[in-house]
């Protein structure tokens, strides 16, 4: 069969149509189907975490709190944090878009270890079910960081179960990262040299390094925490001779790189979308690539900036502060390069591009406020306030979730073979951008003027900004709900997508939409450089939806 002739028959023979039984999906080793399984799972977790956030914003409408008990509020923000961090943000782009696109982008027929890929999903689902069970039978009230000795000696929540759930999802991440690294090393198509890899691949390579080398430290930390709570022994309990701050070191050795786990795949997605919709080669490819690698390494040197007020060594704080400034450089390089790519480009404002532009603005805001927090003196004033909350939501939600939605819209035609409704896509992108800023911009001011985080009530002078933030959250929720309706709708009613609806250059667009089970009918041979976009002769001739 020739790959140039694409007709309806091939769609029936695609990975979606090959066999459509529950058993064939649950026991599949096809990376594309596993990506779809992950997509459905993490969407569920995203909305569970979102509902917890909605209750929190509802509670903060009035100074004394709407909820009857402050304990409930503690459980809500823990649920929001744990679910969103470990069951949505950490896996989000890699296990869905990464899982789907990495083999396609490098011209491979599957990942290196397909069974381990399926195992990763089962570990994730098992961990997720344990976590949800812990959250719904009573919840956990210690925050997503599980700091002892609150979590070991004083909390009456379901800490053990919750820790077990996170532990299992961690091994799911390790399995995925290991698979990606070996795949990128061993399964590239002929001609797909390292300098021809799309930035998406480089980003996922960096993320996988973080997955594999940071997550085991979290696993051991949580295992020790489990042991300590179960038996009352004390590696983390100062009264028993242990060291509280040791837990924080171990935890942030994972969790600081983990914020890069959450944002690096977003960088990868944005680096695909911007050249495509600017119809221009990515500006400074080598710089973007090396910035990804630099982030993967330097992000391990900076964890102590979460602990400036913990009582750790002052000398350690100085070193960590300086390194934290250094890690901002590669992120800034990327922002410059994306903007440089758009400069004098032939820009089209389709939904993925709107998300990408939103990403640049929100990520820049979140990134720059990160520098305030890296500064030792400023951090003493700002830590444990809403300023921190706003900062990381700008990066994690404004940045990462925008990138996730941008990527999802961008590859939706490839994944499903259907086009999403463009007007709805653009509307959702705009509503998310506006709602996001309405929610979190007031929190910068709240934090700067002294409102601490993780409190169920607040002094009346903060009410106006809190109400603004809660109002914004409802706009944001509307923005997130829209795709939940129009994307599934497009599965049935959307127009069929061609192999390359965006006129993009990546290898994944060379095969049919949706791709066949073996990805390519013949092994592709790569002879071109990445982002090989030529300026169009006449703009009017470009009709992507043709």
């Amino acid at each position: 069969m020739s790959s140039t002739v694409i007709d309806r028959r091939e769609i029936a023979e695609s990975y979606l149509g090959e066999k459509f039984t529950l058993r064939s999906w649950l026991l599949t080793t096809d990376h594309k189907r596993i990506a779809v399984l992950f997509l459905i799972t993490i969407t569920g977790f995203f909305f569970v975490g979102g509902i917890a956030a909605a209750f929190m914003r509802w509670n903060l409408l009035v100074p004394e709190g709407m909820l009857r008990s402050d304990e409930t509020y503690n459980r809500l923000f823990t649920m929001h944090g744990v679910i969103m961090v470990w069951f949505f943000l950490v896996p989000s782009i890699p296990v869905t878009l990464g899982n789907f696109c990495i083999p396609l982008m490098i011209g491979a027929r599957d990942l290196a270890f397909p069974k381990i890929n399926l195992m990763s999903w089962y570990l994730f689902v098992t961990g997720g079910i344990i976590e949800l069970y812990a959250m719904f039978v009573g919840g956990v009230d210690v925050g997503w960081t599980f700091y002892p000795t609150l979590s070991t000696n004083y909390s009456n929540g379901f800490i053990l179960l919750s820790v077990l759930g996170v532990f299992m999802s961690g091994f799911s991440s390790i399995a995925t990262g290991l698979n990606f690294i070996v795949t990128i090393h061993t399964l590239r198509a002929p001609g797909m040299t390292w300098t021809r890899l799309p930035v998406f691949i480089w980003s996922h390579y960096s993320v996988s390094v973080l997955y594999v080398l940071a997550t085991p430290v979290l696993a051991m930390t949580l295992a020790l925490l489990f042991f300590e709570r179960l038996f009352g022994v004390g590696p983390f309990d100062p009264q028993l001779g242990g060291d509280l701050i040791l837990f924080q070191h171990l935890f942030w050795f994972y969790s600081h790189p983990a914020v890069y786990i959450m944002i690096l795949p977003g960088f990868g997605v944005i680096s695909e979308i911007i050249p495509c919709f600017s119809h221009k080669r990515l500006f400074g490819y080598e710089f973007v690539v090396w910035a990804s690698i630099a982030i993967a390494v330097i992000s391990f040197f900076v964890w102590g900036h979460h602990m400036f007020v913990s009582g750790q060594s002052l000398y350690a704080s100085v070193v960590f502060s300086l390194m934290s400034y250094a890690v901002a450089v590669p992120s800034a390089i990327k922002v410059f390069n994306w903007v440089g790519t758009m400069h004098k480009g032939f820009i089209r404002f389709d939904a993925p591009m709107l998300y990408a532009i939103g990403f640049i603005g929100l990520f820049t805001s979140g990134g720059l406020t990160g520098l305030w927090l890296a500064c030792l003196a400023a951090d003493v004033h700002l830590s444990q306030t809403y300023f921190v909350v706003a900062h990381f939501h700008y990066v994690m939600v404004g940045g990462m979730v925008s990138a996730f939605f941008g990527g999802l819209h961008f590859w939706w035609p490839k994944i499903t073979g259907r086009l999403y409704p463009e007007m709805w896509g653009r509307a959702a992108a705009l509503i998310i951008f506006i709602g996001f800023n309405m929610t979190f911009a007031p929190q910068y001011i709240l934090g700067y003027t002294g409102m601490p985080r993780r409190y169920a009530s607040y002094p009346p002078k903060f009410q106006v900004l809190n109400v603004m933030s809660s109002a914004g959250a409802s706009v944001l929720a509307l923005g997130y709900l829209l795709p939940l309706f129009y994307l599934p709708w497009s599965l049935f009613r959307g127009p069929r997508a061609t192999a390359n609806p965006w006129d993009a250059t990546g290898l994944e667009w060379q095969t049919s939409s949706p791709p066949p089970t073996t990805n390519f009918y013949a092994t592709p041979v790569v002879t071109w450089e990445p982002y090989d976009y030529k300026p169009p002769e006449r703009l009017e001739q470009r009709d992507y939806h043709g």
């Binding site: 027929r109 599957d110 397909p114 690294i181 997550t215 085991p216 051991m220 295992a223 001779g241 171990l250």
Partner: protein
């Protein structure tokens, strides 16, 4: 997804996954994968070792007083047993690379047997430790007075570390048994024996963890 592939110079068919160009290609990916997994394990145990550093640094006398109560002879004999089993496994690999299936199977059996011997001795040691009142929740904990806190921290590390290592070893014995079973069915030859190589790397890694745990637990605190 597995298509049978003919081996050079053999009537056997072994599974080659469809994403690889050759069995050699598949084997290289598997070796790379297991090494990456070992890198992951290094960091996993690394966090435990950092805990050891902190706990001993803050409670140096109590920690060593706890360590002085260990069964140092059993621990040291176990070190010899594991080193020998690693040696047996490495020799088994030499045999299969030269096509000696029978020699490989016997040596793998020796390696697994030594692993089981380690676990039996370890179990006996745990039994002695219990009787010696060194279980951390023992109301009549052996070390008393000012040093008790540090000693209890040491014994927390001891129980956590040895149980974790024994769990890794148990998994390893299971994997070696799996390889022996496949070897008995004639799956391996000089041309194809990737699973034997991969599991060998894991087996030696479990040995390495013990090489580090042994001084941490038994030797450093053994002040005369």
């Amino acid at each position: 997804m597995a298509e049978p592939a003919q081996l050079p110079g053999s009537a056997l068919t072994v599974p080659q996954e469809f994403q690889y160009s050759s069995l050699f290609h598949q084997g290289e990916a598997a070796i790379a994968g297991i090494w990456l997994f070992m890198a992951q394990e290094c960091l996993f145990f690394g966090a435990l070792f950092l805990t050891w550093i902190y706990c001993r640094y803050w409670n140096i006398a109590g920690f060593d007083a706890g360590s002085a109560e260990t069964q140092v002879w059993i621990g040291s004999i176990n070190t010899g047993i594991l080193l020998t089993s690693s040696f047996a496994y490495a020799s088994a690999l030499l045999f299969i690379r030269a096509g000696g299936e029978r020699g490989m199977t016997i040596l793998l059996g020796v390696a697994a047997f030594l692993g089981i011997a380690f676990l039996c001795l370890k179990g006996y040691e745990w039994h002695l430790d219990f009787d010696d009142h060194t279980w951390v929740l023992d109301p009549d904990f052996k070390v008393k007075g000012a040093l008790q806190g540090g000693a209890k921290l040491f014994w927390s590390f001891y129980w956590f570390g040895t149980v974790l290592h024994a769990a890794h070893l148990t998994v390893g014995i299971g994997l070696v048994a799996y390889v022996i079973e496949r070897a008995r069915r004639g799956h391996f030859s000089a041309a194809y024996h990737t699973p034997v190589e991969v599991i060998g790397i894991y087996w030696s890694f479990v040995d390495i963890v013990w090489i580090i745990l042994w001084p941490f637990i038994y030797l450093i605190g053994r002040a005369p």
